[in-house]
């Protein structure tokens, strides 16, 4: 019966799409991530994550006219916009990709989108660019840019909720002086002040400096119940925490996503009572994705589920639009990502493709619990943590 259904579905879809344009046997997807540069260790897991979704679709053979999907890698370098633009240009003109998973860091992603993807009408789905500056609320991206990672504007709101629930009404903020740190600190400031909180000082710090005593002195003079450190724990952020503890400036801290890592354990119980949050899928989703991956790569590394989902969304939208032309399928990404429809988790891409072929509707959940809001970005689930004995322990998911 099932076979018959699939057969019928296949027959009707072939008949119905015989006239559709951009329909082909081969689809190419660019994997546009920072394989070299400051986040190369994260990308080593993210790249395989995206390619895992592609091989799953290839195994099913259910995409379009049983098309084979080919992945082509290109390097964003994370920091060099010139190199990133050249790389995506190559993907579009030489490799002829039909969609791009990436980029990774906010700065290069914005440059590649505005200068190359937009003029060429190419769809980009980023798994990890979180800057609020990439939320194109006035359609500056012509509906071509999506992300499976949440905007830091959302993280600012979540941070505010975490702090307000603990009754913390006054904080000092220091952020790493780049697109990520500044975007997050500004988003947090507006959300926190709107909620009635006071920010005593909002000061940047540079990475890799010799001495942070002047930063800590200014933060301590401004005061506050807690110090929010929007930086990187392996660099200036960690040094500022150390200097604050040494001088007795602050005892408790609040850590956004860039600060939560095993490195925090070096402070031991000195930072007990500090809070934080980072984007993470719920425990059930994380467990099922880990089981699905089965050790091929680290499924719980940051932004790996998001990479899988970015690739999956592109292919599902192609199926829904019955075309691999970005101009056709870009409007279908929101449709397959959100309700209504049958819920499709990670590992169920074949099922999703079949439903779409039959003209049905799906609500893609994927590995990270995809729910696209606003101009096409993940609403985001955050894990709220509290430090106990030098370890981050989960309080709740928000």
């Amino acid at each position: 019966m099932k076979k018959l259904l699939i057969g019928t579905a296949l027959a009707t879809s072939v008949a119905a799409t015989a006239f559709a344009g951009g329909h082909a046997k081969e689809v190419t997807i660019g994997v546009f991530l920072g394989f070299t540069g400051p986040i190369e260790s994260m990308v080593a897991e993210m790249g395989p994550g995206a390619e895992f979704a592609i091989s799953e679709v290839n195994d099913s053979g259910a995409l379009l006219d049983s098309a084979k999907v080919k992945a082509v890698r290109a390097d964003t370098t994370c920091i060099d916009s010139g190199a990133a633009q050249a790389a995506i240009e190559r993907l579009i003109t030489a490799d002829g990709v039909d969609g791009v998973v990436g980029g990774d860091c906010s700065g290069v992603t914005g440059a590649a989108l505005m200068n190359v993807a937009l003029p060429n009408g190419m769809v980009m789905v980023s798994p990890s660019a979180t800057s609020p500056g990439l939320s194109h609320n006035n359609n500056e991206d012509k509906g071509l840019f999506f992300r499976t990672a949440p905007s830091d504007a959302r993280q600012g709101v979540v941070m505010t909720e975490v702090l307000m629930d603990q009754g913390i009404k006054s904080v000092a903020v220091t952020y790493t002086n780049n697109d990520y740190g500044k975007g997050l600190a500004d988003a947090f400031q507006s959300a926190y002040e709107a909620a009635g909180g006071t920010i005593t000082i909002n000061a940047p710090h540079e990475e890799g400096k010799a001495d942070y005593s002047s930063e800590v002195a200014a933060l301590a003079a401004a005061g506050g119940d807690r110090l929010v450190v929007a930086g990187y724990v392996d660099q200036g952020g960690g040094a500022i925490i150390q200097a604050s503890l040494d001088s007795g400036a602050f005892d408790t801290f609040h850590f956004p996503d860039g600060m939560i890592s095993d490195t925090l354990s070096k402070f031991g119980s000195d930072i007990d009572g500090s809070t934080g949050q980072h984007p993470a899928p719920s425990t059930e989703l994380a467990e099922s994705f880990t089981a699905l991956v089965g050790g091929a790569f680290n499924a719980t590394s940051p932004f790996v589920p998001e990479s899988y989902d970015a690739a999956a969304l592109i292919m599902l939208a192609m199926q829904s639009a019955d075309s691999k032309d970005p101009a056709d399928y870009k409007d279908h990404i929101m449709k397959v990502a959100n309700a209504p429809g049958t819920k499709i988790g990670a590992g169920e891409l074949a099922k999703g493709l079949e439903i779409l072929r039959g003209g049905g509707d799906i609500d893609y959940v994927g590995a990270s619990g995809v729910e696209l809001i606003g101009p096409g970005e993940a609403s985001g689930t955050y894990r709220e943590v509290v430090m106990k004995g030098g370890k981050d322990t989960t309080v709740a998911f928000r």
Partner: protein, 336 residues
Amino acid sequence: MEFLHAVIVLSNFVIIPAITYGSQLALGALGVTLVYGILRFSNFAHGDTMAFGTMVAILFTWWFQSIGVSIAPLPTALLALPIAIVLTALLLLGTDRVVLRFYRKQKSAPVILLIVSLGIMFVYNGLVRFIIGVGDQRFSDGSRFIISARDFKKLTGLDEGLAIKTTQVITVITAVVVVALLFWFLNRTRTGKSMRAFSDNEDLALLSGINPERVVFYTWLIVAALATIAGTLYGLDKSFKPFVYFQLLLPIFAAAIVGGLGNPLGAIAGGFLIAFSEVFITYAWKKVLTYTLPEQFAPSGLMQLLATEYKFAVSFAILLVVLLFKPTGLFKGKSL
């Protein structure tokens, strides 16, 4: 009482950290200034020489810790320091023999030697990263505080805390001892005098029978000691990361130039000037003024002269002003 609070806040956040940072910079700048004065070139490899020396100290600290040798409450790294100095000296003398001696024989212009030192810098840079890796290493042990902010508050019953770290005291004491020894050596011993003579006028020194290779040998020995001590003290106080040591080169050179390149006294003054100006000018005076001024004058703003992101600009502004009005630096070094 209020005034006492103000003094404690100021010492805790400004004076003590600035003195520590200033001592670290001064020791680094002394090494740079000695090479400039005696060997006549700007040694860009100094930051990475510090990194190398510190790395050796760390490796031996770990070894001592593993076999259970310690000098608690002092950090074990102090025990490893002499070995690190010897190995760093060997590295510097080897470099001099293989690379720099060739250019000295050629009587190359200082700018060529500067570029050569840049090359040496990259080699050291790679060597350190190759051996110990690029990550953060922490190797301080022993007791961390002489008095912590919390204990101070409990002890005195005051509202403000004053923290004094063991490493801060060790840094300042070591710096004083090292500087005193250096000046005694340069001014009182025969070798030190011949080094100064060589620095003042090379031809005259050669004519009076001073062996130049001997002067070079002792210079590298002293530079190795200074660099290793400065690097290890810095690493104990903060943490060791090769990239940060590379970045240290900037404030160290600023300190040496402000004080007057080639003048040891100037290097010390320059180190403290850079450290104090970085912390003082970007300090938010709100708390101090709240304690000292009558209540109705208490400031509501932060009372910060310049935001902290401009602190590098502060040291370079001082550098520019000094070079414009006193090209030889505050203490009459050699002009650039």
